[in-house]
């Protein structure tokens, strides 16, 4: 048997007091897809960064084709044919597709000794690169006009321009729709058949099961299981990752109370929300589901009118919404948190006016409240002074929820609150949301994961092109097929 294309042996990595990787072995072979799963903070991203030359291991080392190698930076890794497609794509948004694809070595022609860009050859090269992916956009289109899925294809095409022996994808499907995921998988299958080794990091375990030839689960920086195709199922992976078996959230059986939030204007996507109720918004990207949440939080350009607990209110900005007890958990964590501030300051941010007595903040009182909140939500580590940027994704998401629970809002609007976080944290957030509703709160939640909505919602609104196409209620169970149809228009 030949040596693995890329391998890591006995890798240790510390960040301050945190042990990110602990004597880890990992390898990938030509023509193989090796999936990497684990909770947030398990060490997946650290491993990916070490393989990509961003970090250097404290101990242990890398080998290519069995030969020990040392990367002094991402350039070395790229030169060795190891290409990482990160979650945030590194494309120049102001340049065209063709320009982005040829950025590393722009085709030149010389006029009177002056180097000029050879546009014809640039287009030719770009077209060939994209043809490998069955993707034929207008090459002069600026990259910031593309959807995320299209930009991802451009990033992959760009990676393929150099020699690509190992392709590392970090959560590539987090922002993709079903059809786009299928296209991506077809591209990966073709690359694999051409002998590229693929490392695939994902939280979506069903993908891992269908895509991975091998799968490694990480926990606390150690490899807890590596198994071959056919030997792992979703339930096994969950157990390996979390160290326990999956427990379903309680089936909902609550009686909705009085209307807590109701839009006054007649519109095809008007919202009415009751106390004790969890309403889901289902829809593909661009269906207008996110827009509903943003509108209710005062982020639309126009002022909206709604009734909050029966009283008419106008909302022109988020501060209006917050004042009448509406909280918003945005789809991206960096929009929900001030990363260079402490956990305490982030939790207190929306409630500062309520907590100030006589114009000043009672430090002892707020410290007590923050401590209670961190215990209630099990935010780890339990250090309110720690910068929120040092927390794992799941804990960061809990801090965002804590902000609104501290404010004691009556309505929570959530956009993909569990995207990209691990299963244990996801379940905790579901439990918290159900608990919030049980105490008389109203929850409006958007998720691209229909199973999640069916798990926790009392009713689900299916949106398509800014209209509510269907409204499904939980009477025994949701009709999966009907929901899919409604979403598709």
């Amino acid at each position: 048997m030949t040596a693995p294309t890329l391998s890591a042996r006995g890798v240790f990595k510390h960040f301050g007091a945190t042990r990110a990787l602990d004597n880890l072995d990992f390898d990938v072979r030509a023509g193989e897809t090796h999936a990497l799963v684990g909770e947030n903070g398990a060490g997946k991203s650290t491993l990916v960064r070490i393989l990509g030359g961003v970090h250097r291991p404290d101990r242990g080392g890398l080998a290519i084709d069995g030969e020990p190698r040392r990367f002094n930076g991402p350039r070395d890794a790229i030169a060795a044919g190891i290409v990482t497609i990160p979650q945030e794509l590194h494309l120049v948004s102001m340049l065209s597709i063709a320009e982005n694809l040829t950025l590393q070595d722009v085709p030149l022609r010389h006029l009177l000794g002056l180097p000029l860009i050879d546009r014809a050859r640039m287009h030719q090269a770009a077209r060939e690169q994209l043809a490998q992916l069955d993707f034929a956009p207008d090459l002069d289109l600026r990259v910031d006009r593309l959807s995320f899925a299209e930009r991802q294809l451009v990033a992959i095409a760009k990676a393929l321009r150099g020699r690509c022996r190992v392709l590392i994808l970090d959560e590539p499907t987090a922002a993709l729709e079903t059809r786009e995921i299928e296209r991506l998988f077809a591209v990966l299958a073709r690359m694999k058949s051409q002998g590229t080794a693929i490392i695939y990091v994902s939280h979506r375990l069903d993908e891992v099961v269908s895509l991975g030839d091998r799968c490694t689960a990480l926990r606390d920086g150690r490899s807890v299981a590596t198994s071959r195709r056919g030997a792992f199922k979703v339930a096994d992976l969950v157990e390996a990752i979390t160290g326990r078996t999956l427990v379903q959230a309680d089936a909902r059986a609550s009686v909705p109370g009085a209307v807590v939030l109701e839009e006054i204007a007649e519109r095809p996507d008007a919202i009415r929300l009751r106390a004790n109720e969890v309403v889901g918004l289902a829809g593909l990207l661009g269906s207008g589901a996110s827009a509903v949440l943003r509108r209710l939080f005062g982020l639309a350009s126009e002022t909206i009118e709604l009734r909050r607990n029966g009283v008419a209110k106008r909302i022109a900005s988020p501060s209006d919404a917050v004042r009448i007890g509406i909280g918003f958990v945005p789809g991206e964590r960096r929009l929900g948190l001030v990363m260079n501030l402490s956990v305490r300051d982030n939790i207190l941010l929306p409630s500062l006016d309520l907590l100030a007595s006589g114009g000043t903040i009672d430090r002892a009182k707020v410290d007590r409240l923050v401590k209670q909140m961190m215990e209630l939500l099990n935010i780890r580590p339990r250090h309110p002074d720690r910068r929120v940027s040092a927390l794992s994704g799941g804990n960061q998401q809990k801090v965002i929820l804590a902000k609104w629970l501290m404010r004691e809002v009556g309505v929570l609007l959530l956009d993909e609150p569990t995207q990209g976080i691990d299963i244990a944290a996801k379940q905790q957030i579901h439990t918290l949301l159900l608990d919030f509703a049980r105490r008389g709160g109203g929850v409006l939640i958007r998720s691209s994961e229909i199973a999640e909505l069916m798990l926790i919602c009392d009713s689900i609104l299916a949106l398509h092109q800014g209209r509510v196409m269907d409204r499904l209620t939980r009477s025994g169970a949701f009709d999966d097929k009907r929901l899919q149809r409604a979403i598709g228009g």
Binding site: F297, L299, S317, P318, S319, A321, V322, R323, F328, P330, R334, L335, G336, L337, V338, M339, N340, L341, D345, N346, L348, L349, P350, L352, D353, L355, A356, G359, T360, I361, R363, K403
Partner: protein, 313 residues
């Protein structure tokens, strides 16, 4: 839980250690440095810059910066002197501070509400305000020999052995540091500078917060202008040149980040001392004044580089 004093963080103390090292080196090179007269000089020189730097710290924590403070110092000093000659000390002082406040508010509204880039906006007001100073004064000093005796005394008299001019930033520092720490407003400035969008989505009125930081900067520059007029015993239209750069350099030396969201008022004062002591020691060592400019420019670049390296790590 350790008390804040026991939790010694060496990185956070770099400004103070730099200042102490600078003082030590200068004291070893010349015995004139530690003379009471020289030390008192340093304090008085630092006092005016300290008031400006406190305002600048507000703006920089809020994620912006303000190039107009030097011109504001000149205009506030001249307006104060003109008003004082006619209407007395109180009106003069109030007019000077109000002048600074108005300029700061204008900056704030243009930057926060209209969304114009802070560099361009305050570069514009810097030039514009300087023009206004020359227009209203005709380029000549205001109030030479005609300012009230009480005001001139304020520029040189002492209270408990320390110049009044030094008491001003000391009191301002105490009150505003407390405000930054203990009031919702203070915490919101940090949040807005750290992540404007996240603060907005938490219900923070970010436009008002940002505008207010420029108002502080303007008003404090106004106070500095009045102090400078007292010290110079006149309103000088050419006063305050390069003050904005010294103030920005001091704030960055004090550990605030140009990315916003970070900074401490008292550490900015340490940054001011570093700048003033550096100039003072170069003077005492008879370094050519042209070389002094080179040195101060290099310090500004070094401070910005350290800021960059720190935010990367």
């Amino acid at each position: 839980m350790l008390s804040p004093l026991l939790r010694f963080n060496p990185v956070g103390q770099i400004p103070l250690l730099t200042l102490l090292a600078l003082c030590l080196v200068t004291a070893l090179l010349t015995d004139r440095f530690l003379s009471p007269l020289n030390l008192s000089n340093i304090l008085v020189q630092s006092s005016i810059m300290a008031v400006i730097a406190i305002g600048m710290t507000f703006v920089i924590i809020g994620g912006g910066f303000d190039l107009s403070v030097g011109s504001t110092v000149a205009l506030a000093g001249c307006v104060a002197a003109m008003a004082m000659v006619k209407f007395g000390i109180a009106v003069g002082v109030a007019a000077g501070i109000a002048t600074g406040l108005v300029i700061g508010l204008a900056n704030g509204v243009i930057i926060a509400n209209l969304g114009v880039n802070p560099f361009i906006t305050t570069l514009g007001t810097m030039v514009l305000v300087r023009g206004v100073v020359y227009l209203i004064t005709g380029g000549a000093p205001v109030g030479d020999d005609t300012l009230p005796a009480g005001f001139i005394a304020f520029g040189s008299a002492r209270f408990l052995g320390i110049h009044y001019l030094v008491w001003v930033p000391a009191v301002i520092l105490l009150v505003l540091s407390w405000m930054m720490r203990a009031t919702p407003y203070g915490r919101r400035i940090y949040a807005t500078g750290g992540n404007r969008e996240a603060a907005y989505l938490s219900g923070v009125p970010v436009e008002r917060i940002i505008a207010s930081t420029y108002a502080w900067s303007g008003a404090l520059a106004g106070i500095a202008g009045v102090m400078l007029a007292a010290r110079l015993q006149s309103g000088q239209p050419t006063a305050g040149e390069f003050y904005e750069l010294t103030a920005i350099a001091a704030v960055i030396l004090g550990g605030a980040s140009l990315q916003g969201g970070e900074g401490t008022l008292y550490k900015s004062i340490i940054g001011v001392f570093i700048m003033i002591v550096l100039g003072n020691s170069l003077n005492l060592l008879n370094v050519d004044s042209y070389w002094q400019r080179v040195a101060i420019g290099a310090v500004i670049i070094a401070a910005a580089t350290v800021d960059r390296l720190r935010s990367r790590s």
